[in-house]
Every structure is written in C-alpha cells, then in structure tokens.
C-alpha cells in the first residue's frame, strides 16, 4: 500500500494515473451538470419572494463554496510541497489556482447579477462580498508571484509561503458576517420555502455542487498533466513518451 503511494507521488506515474482518471471525472461532471440544470430549471418551483431570479443560486452557491474550498486545498498542497519538497504537490497547488480564481470570479459575477434585481445594486461593500473579492486578489497574487519567477523550484516555494499566509483570510470570509451588518443572506434557501419545495431546490443545488466538484477535479488533473510535462521535459520518461507519441 505504502509503496503504491510512493509510486503515485512520482510525477511520471501520476501523469498516467491522472490521464486515466480524467475521463471518469469529466463524464461524471457532465452528467451531474445536466441533471442539476434539469432539476434547476424544470423541477424546482418558482420562489415566491424572488421569482425566477433565484435560479442563479444553482451556480452561485457552488461557485462560492468551491472558491473557498479550492483555496484551502491549494494552500494545503503548497504547504506539503514546501515541507517535504515533493514536486508533485507543488504542481497541484499551481494547477488549482486558476480554477479557484475562475470560481471566485463566477461567484462574484453571478452574485452581482443576482444583487441587481434583489438589492437594487450591482455591488455593496458588504462583508461577504468584500472578502470574496479579497479572495480573488489572493488567487491573483499567488498566480502573479509564480508567473514572475522563472525558476519553478523557487516559484513553488515562494507561492507556498504566500498561499499559507493567505489562509488567514478564509476564516475571515466565514466569520466576517458577524463583524458587519450584512445584506448578504447567511441563511440557506429553506427558510423562505415550504419544506417540500425547498427540498427540490436544495437537491438541485447540491447536484450542481457535486458537478462543480467533479469539474474542478477533472480540469485540475488536466492542467497538472500539462504542468508536469512542462517541468519534466528533460527527464527520460517524457522523451520516451514523446517517442512513443503518447504524450
């Protein structure tokens, strides 16, 4: 068992393992997405307060959750890479950042499109919104720092430090609601709805959350494979793969 883990901790074997796992997650993501959208648009009822606008929730909430979660995961991988000098973990962190930033952006965008009809404004400087924006800056900071450094080893370590220091902001996103009076609703959807109705909404939302998860895993694996290729280009196994035309 232990040997197995070691085996997959090497970029070479992880590369092929990831290659085999991607289709699985991609198909799952697509299936869940279709199911989630079906429930979201054709099963879930109209909200009696918000009308149809609430249907934004099916992407807003998954994106918002993913944005925070991916940051923690990224920091974790980066930290492991820093502590144990494992290249693969650092590459994982680098691969997660763009997807995390994308979800953060989507959460901001959908939230703001939702805010216009609900609150009458695109944007308020409310705690949760602000901290989500800071999260976007953290992702961008991480990526720009890594982009500014040419030497990948140094980029990994520097990125890990800033990612770990930035983790402080995650609890702030969570608890900031208590520090400011806030427009953003903290309670879940079920409050405004009768239980049966809410449950279809909730199901739709959860299905979409899983779809987002599967999508994130697939995309991150795909990206980490590219990063592995970029970084390991001088190794024998890459040129071997290349000769076999199996890159």
């Amino acid at each position: 068992m232990a040997i197995n883990w070691y085996k997959y901790a090497s970029p070479a074997s992880f590369y092929s393992l990831a290659g085999r796992m991607i289709p699985f997650f991609a198909i799952l993501a697509f299936g869940l997405l279709v199911a989630g959208l079906y429930i979201g648009f054709f099963v879930a009822p109209t909200d009696f307060q918000q009308g149809e606008a609430y249907r934004i929730i099916f992407i807003h909430v998954p994106a918002a959750w993913m944005s925070m979660f991916l940051y923690v995961v990224m920091a974790l991988w980066a930290g492991i890479g820093l502590a144990f000098n494992t290249r693969l973990s650092s590459m994982m962190a680098t691969a997660i950042a763009p997807t995390g930033a994308m979800f953060t952006f989507v959460a901001l965008w959908t939230g703001s499109l939702w805010g216009k009809p609900m609150w009458g404004t695109w944007w308020v400087w409310d705690a949760r919104l602000t901290s989500e924006l800071i999260l976007l800056f953290l992702y961008i900071g991480f990526m720009s720092l890594q982009a500014a450094i040419d030497d990948p080893r140094r980029a990994d370590k520097a990125g890990a430090i800033i990612a770990l220091v930035g983790v402080i902001n995650i609890p702030i996103i969570y608890f900031s609601v208590q520090w400011w009076n806030t427009l953003h609703q903290g309670a879940s959807v079920s409050v405004t709805q009768a239980p049966t109705m809410a449950s279809t909404m909730l199901t739709g939302m959860m299905v979409m959350v899983f779809a987002a998860w599967m999508y994130a895993i697939a995309v991150i694996l795909k990206r980490v494979r590219v990063i592995i290729l970029e970084r390991e280009r001088h190794t024998a196994w890459v040129s071997e793969l290349n000769e076999r035309g199996a890159l």
């Binding site: 606008a53 934004i56 590219v226």
Partner: protein, 68 residues
C-alpha cells in the same frame, strides 16, 4: 415544468437578463478554461516534438559515452 413556451423560458419571469447573464458567463468561463488548457498542451507538445528532434543526436551521443 411550468414553462409553457420558449419565450417564457427565456424571459425567466422578467429576470432573463440576470439569470442568462449568469449562466452564459459561467459557461464561457468554464469553456474558456478548458480551451486554454488544451491550447497550452498543444503548444507544449508541438514544441517538444521540435526539441526532441533537435536533440536526437544529443541523446545518441550520450549513449555512446556510457557505452565507452
């Protein structure tokens, strides 16, 4: 379910622009991200083909040396 026709579906009870604006941009982001990864990979593979071709002699030279 209670969409009687397409235009009603697209209107989203008057919130169409917000709902579809959200979904469209989200899917644009998702598809964009996927395309970017594929493009990054393609350029990489193409470049490697060239690099390895150019280094073809190099590796054989190393082999010779170890043989000696």
């Amino acid at each position: 379910m209670d969409w009687s026709n397409w235009s009603e579906f697209l209107a989203m009870g008057g919130y169409g622009i917000y709902v579809w604006g959200s979904y469209l941009v989200t899917f644009a982001c998702v598809i964009g991200e996927i395309l970017l990864i594929f493009k990054r990979r393609r350029t990489l593979v193409k470049r490697y083909g060239q690099i390895f071709d150019a280094n073809g002699e190099d590796t054989s030279y190393q082999d010779d040396k170890t043989a000696v």
